[in-house]
């Protein structure tokens, strides 16, 4: 029996899409398991992979915590994405607006999102409102800045072309400016979602009683390393899933289809 290693294109694609990216993870887990076998560390220092993978099923509030974090992320991200795109388009089109907001943006970017947490706790009190504010704050300036840049880079000739077809200013914004800025808007959304997710966890560590961040922090007190690691893995997996199943497909349907980027991701 012979196996043909020069795989036909569909198989090759499956390998490239699923198997290849999975390999580094498999290696990491294998090394981790090996370390546990070899050194037999206490469970409070390094639990075995099996113990960690089981943890979510043994821990009752796990799903509720995951749900709370994801919900806050979605809420904060949606507000950040919509306000970021709208204000970004306005600033990209109008010099005065850009000049008005420019220094503020630089200032805000210098202040890391985490520095806002104590302030936000004071203003909103602990809980969802405060976390959402932190997410918004982390994602907004990324979406805003990228959108503004993208709008500025839309070639004049495309706008002029539409004006000679009798278009109104609003037509130009909707049909030329926004799609033309799409590559930048997408990259703003992508990094905004990533930073927003990190911000959720950071904010919950300090300022919430429910949520993955809060849960991990709480487990520390009980030295439940298995739960802590399960929480950390969940954070990573959710971050990856959102990028691959939410934003990458959106990118494929828009800018990749239009030939505005080399096919990425």
């Amino acid at each position: 029996m012979t196996t043909i290693s020069a795989a036909s294109p569909p198989i090759g694609r499956t390998v490239k899409k699923w198997l290849l990216p999975a390999v580094p993870f498999a290696i990491l887990v294998a090394l981790w398991g090996l370390a546990v076998l070899l050194f037999d560390p206490p469970v409070g220092v390094l639990p075995s992979p099996a113990l960690v993978f089981e943890a979510p099923f043994n821990s009752d509030p796990y799903l509720a915590n995951v749900g709370a974090s994801v919900q806050r992320l979605i809420l904060g991200f949606l507000v950040a994405a919509s306000t970021g795109v709208v204000v970004g388009v306005a600033a990209g089109l109008s010099k005065p607006i850009a000049e008005f907001l420019g220094p503020l943006t630089t200032f805000m970017n210098a202040l890391s999102g985490i520095a806002w947490i104590p302030l936000a706790v004071a203003w909103f009190g602990p809980g969802t409102g405060m976390v959402v504010f932190i997410v918004w704050n982390a994602a907004f300036f990324l979406v805003f800045g990228n959108t503004m840049l993208g709008v500025r880079l839309v070639p004049d000739v495309l706008q002029n072309g539409l004006l000679t077809l009798g278009a109104s200013r609003m037509d130009v914004i909707r049909q030329v400016i926004v799609p033309g800025a799409m590559p930048y808007i997408m990259s703003g959304l992508r990094s905004g979602l990533g930073f927003g997710w990190r911000a959720v966890i950071a904010a919950e560590l300090v300022g919430a009683s429910l949520g993955l961040g809060a849960w991990i922090f709480e487990q520390q007190e009980f030295s439940r390393m298995d739960n802590i690691m399960a929480g950390a893995l969940t954070i990573g997996v959710i971050g990856m899933v959102m990028d691959r199943w939410l934003l990458a497909p959106l990118e494929r349907r828009t800018i990749e289809r239009w030939g505005m980027v080399g096919s990425a991701s």
């Binding site: 002029n160 072309g161 000679t164 077809l165 009798g166 278009a167 799609p179 239009w258 030939g259 505005m260």
Partner: protein
Amino acid sequence: MTVPTGGAAQAAPPTISVEGLSHSFTDPQTRKTVHALDDVNLEILPGDFVTVVGPSGCGKTTLLNILAGFIRPSAGKAFVNGRAIERPGADRGVVFQELAILPWRTVYRNIAHGLEIQGVAKPEIDERVNRMTSLVGLEGFEGHYPHQLSGGMRQRVAVARTWVSDPEIILMDEPFAAVDAMTRLTLQEELNDLTVRTGKTVFFITHSVEEAVFLGDRVMALSARPGRIKEEVHVPVPRAERSWERMSHDEALQDTVEHVLSLVRGEAVEPTGQDG
């Protein structure tokens, strides 16, 4: 015999008129000034096909941008149907030198765009777009995105996109520059037929003297920068009777080509100008 356009047209007001037009660009950083156009005067009557030739950088596109309403001239005036040009409008369709087709719209939706904006009904859009697509030889590519087309096909999309909404005046900036030689001949003959049939007013920029003579009622030869009209050459054969076949052995047409070439050649080689 039909009256040749540009002849006894005293009664008809010019579709486009340009008086003492000059334009300079000032670089906001270096404050250096480029004098692009100098004292250009021009009248285009309804149904006229005016072609413009001149060395690269002499201000042809600048003149078109002023007529389209994208830039205000530094001095002088430009009118369309007696009204001063202030902004772009659907009465002046433009085919741009850098194609203004949208990467996120398919061929069909690029061509249909103007009609959509004007609120034309769907069935009529469909009919007009289909007619246009077959006219420029893009059948079968309606669903393609621009990045999936060849350079020449993209150029045809650009022409179709402007043409389909039937503007009164069409301003074209080297629309056939990126098309292969064979297709170009076809497109030129089709453009000639189309304009003779529809009586559209056209302002057409080109680098090719032969193209300028083949298509135009008049050829405006511009000098090197700052561009001014060096000579306005009337093409002797009526447009309705032109074909490339005839171009190749009609002496009057050949002489016109030679004459315009001599005007342009002097400019391209030595910008300070040494005639004959």
